[in-house]
């Protein structure tokens, strides 16, 4: 599987701000919990373990220096 280059534009700002708005007023711990729920919901929505594994590998692949 390849990761889609860009499925968000031209509404990328709406998408990004919807995410930010979802976190509005939450404590940091609550935000992390929200992110976890969101990832689980998105995983269910994707519903394909292969795709999910590719996404996980990609996300994991960035170095933290």
């Amino acid at each position: 599987m390849t990761i889609y280059p860009d499925r968000l534009s031209p509404r990328q700002d709406d998408v990004y701000n919807a995410l930010m708005d979802a976190h509005e007023g939450l404590s940091e711990a609550e935000s992390h919990a929200l992110n976890a729920r969101l990832i689980l919901l998105m995983a269910n929505q994707i519903g394909d373990l292969g795709v999910l594994r590719d996404l996980l590998t990609t996300a994991r692949g960035y170095s933290h220096d």
Binding site: I3, Y4, P5, D6, R7, L8, S9, Q12, D13, V15, Y16, N17, L19, M20, H23, L26, E28, S31, H32, Y62
Partner: protein
């Protein structure tokens, strides 16, 4: 060389010694917006008196980026070409993360437009050119420097202004008062209108420096360079622009609690600039520390008082939507007010100025505040998302487009507003004019030249235009007709608008209606609608 601020002469106004006849329009404020407003009205034969408390053009680091649509409006007002000749043209924006370029955008990737995506030109030049232009209308524009409006009253069918001059106070009556008195609008304050919105806590250092060597790398091409977390300014953002006269604008994000006065001192500023430009010699032209706000008035029209420009709305500068938005206000209001004053339209037409421009201003605020929010994350979670978007942007195209250093000024669409006749077309009703090169009997021209200023019906390709008396009609790519016909140079016009279709343009260039088979009645109905007349009254 620093700009030479020559003061404009103060002339004692007539009102000091005798009552002046009532003026059709008084404009408060001779900034870019008040001046453009006076010129627009003068070109339509409407006289105005322009009152400004000051006698020099804009001082310090203010607007520099003027967008294509603004330049097209300035073209109609007679200053576009002069601005283009002096300004620095650019269209590429580059975004860096650290010292690595992550995303570049081209704001005008196609040719066949009279004006570029953007020019940079200091606000003082823009105001100087507008004042020169205003002086082409000595019988119509009465420009009064050192005339401070200190009070006003709305009398229902006119307004009364109290003005102070170096020689004392006087009063003046005007049918309409246009408040172009800027972000701190004394008119707005006096009326007690609430002006609340988002204020950003972050402070920004804005420095204009004069420097012979270009800081834009080896190619020295003027562009817009924006850094997230640059090596020379850790953890913050930075923006670089070129202006005429070898002046560069550097914009640096500071800490929320930075001491503004200290930050603007040479001891603090020079090392910050050295970190960017190295040991190239430079001169500090102007330094200031700003905080930004995004706010608009609930209503732009209050009886006989109309708010235009910064008095009606302010934005943070990322996206250059302040002055550019204000010029679009002028473009929208000019023809409407002139029609109302001439008795060709009912005063309700002025209400549509509020509807349409409040919408445009809301769009500008949305874009400006999103960009500023992206630059200045408010919570650890926002900072985390931003950091990871930046990390992904190095190799994920979708993430590059999420980076937001400012979505640069674009005109809004007026689709769905009452003046437009709904319809389907390649350029749907409500859209702003898209320029294109044309060639006609008198040589080369531009679509904007041929349609702006008045209602105009344009037939593209094989479409018969009806005979509408006293109405400007032109053809593009049509066989000879009894109205002026042009060919579409390189096919740009027909590619942009389609073929075998007629468009009705409003005087401000927005598409009012589109027709496959226009009849004289269709066109008359669409014009009446665009003039704010209800079908019964039309």
């Amino acid at each position: 060389m620093a700009y030479d601020y020559t003061p404009y002469p103060y002339v004692p106004p007539k009102g000091l010694t005798q009552a002046e006849p009532r003026h059709p329009v008084a404009i408060v404020g001779a900034g870019p917006i008040g001046l453009a407003m006076a010129i627009d009205l003068a070109q339509r034969g409407v006289p105005s008196v322009v009152l400004d408390d000051n006698n020099v053009v804009s001082v310090g680091s203010r607007a520099i980026c003027w967008a294509k649509r603004t330049l097209e409006i300035f073209d109609r007002l007679g200053v576009g070409e002069r601005m283009l000749a002096k300004g620095v043209t650019w269209k590429i924006g580059r975004q860096f993360h650290g010292n690595q370029e992550v995303y570049a955008f081209d704001l005008l990737p196609e040719d066949g437009h009279k004006y570029p995506a953007f020019i940079n030109l200091q606000q003082y030049y823009v105001e100087e050119y507008l004042i020169d232009r205003a002086r082409d209308f000595p019988g119509l524009i009465d420009l009064r420097f050192k005339n401070r409006v200190v009070d006003h009253a709305d009398r229902g069918d006119h307004t009364v202004l109290n003005i102070e001059t170096p020689d004392g106070p006087y009063t003046l009556e005007a049918d309409w008062m246009i408040a172009c008195d800027g972000a701190g609008s004394p008119t707005r304050n006096r009326m007690g209108l609430s002006f609340e919105g988002q204020t950003f806590q972050e402070q920004f250092l804005i420095a204009d420096i004069e420097m012979k060597d270009s800081p834009f790398g080896d190619a020295a091409v003027p562009e817009r360079w924006f850094w997230f977390d640059p090596p020379f300014h850790n953890g913050k953002s930075a923006l670089l622009h070129m202006q005429p006269d070898n002046i560069y604008r550097i914009d640096l994000q500071l800490d929320v609690d930075a001491d503004a006065k200290l930050e603007a001192s040479e001891d603090k500023v020079i090392p910050r600039i050295r970190a960017i430009v190295g040991d190239k010699p430079f001169r500090l032209d102007w330094v200031s520390v700003y905080k930004f706000r995004c706010i608009k008035l609930d209503r732009f029209v209050h009886g006989r008082v109309i708010f235009v420009g910064d008095s009606a709305h302010v934005v943070s500068p990322f996206g250059a939507r302040g002055g550019n938005g204000g010029i679009q206000d002028v473009d929208n209001l000019g023809w409407k007010l002139a029609a109302v004053i001439a008795g060709h339209a009912n005063a309700d037409l002025i209400g549509t100025y509020h509807d349409e421009r409040s919408h445009g201003s809301a769009e500008n605020i949305l874009n400006s505040s999103r960009a500023t929010n992206f630059m200045t994350p408010k919570t650890p979670i926002e900072a985390l998302f931003r950091a990871e978007a930046l990390r992904l942007a190095h190799d994920q195209p979708f993430a590059r487009r999420i980076l937001n250093s400012g979505r640069l000024s674009m005109p809004c669409s007026l689709e769905g507003f009452a003046l437009q006749t709904p319809g389907a077309a390649q350029v749907p009703p409500g859209s702003p004019l898209i320029d294109a090169p044309l060639a006609g009997d008198h040589g080369e021209t531009w679509l904007l030249r041929e349609v702006q200023g008045d209602f105009t019906l344009v037939g593209f390709g094989d479409v018969a235009l009806p005979d509408v008396p006293d109405f400007r009609c032109i053809g593009v790519g049509q066989r000879a007709a009894d109205y002026p016909c042009f060919t579409a140079t390189h096919g740009h016009a027909t590619r942009r608008y389609g073929s075998d279709i007629a468009y009705l343009f409003r005087p401000d260039g927005h598409v009012a209606a589109a027709f496959r088979h226009p009849s004289a009645e269709d066109v008359a109905r669409a014009v009446a609608r665009a003039m704010g007349k209800t079908p019964e009254a039309a």
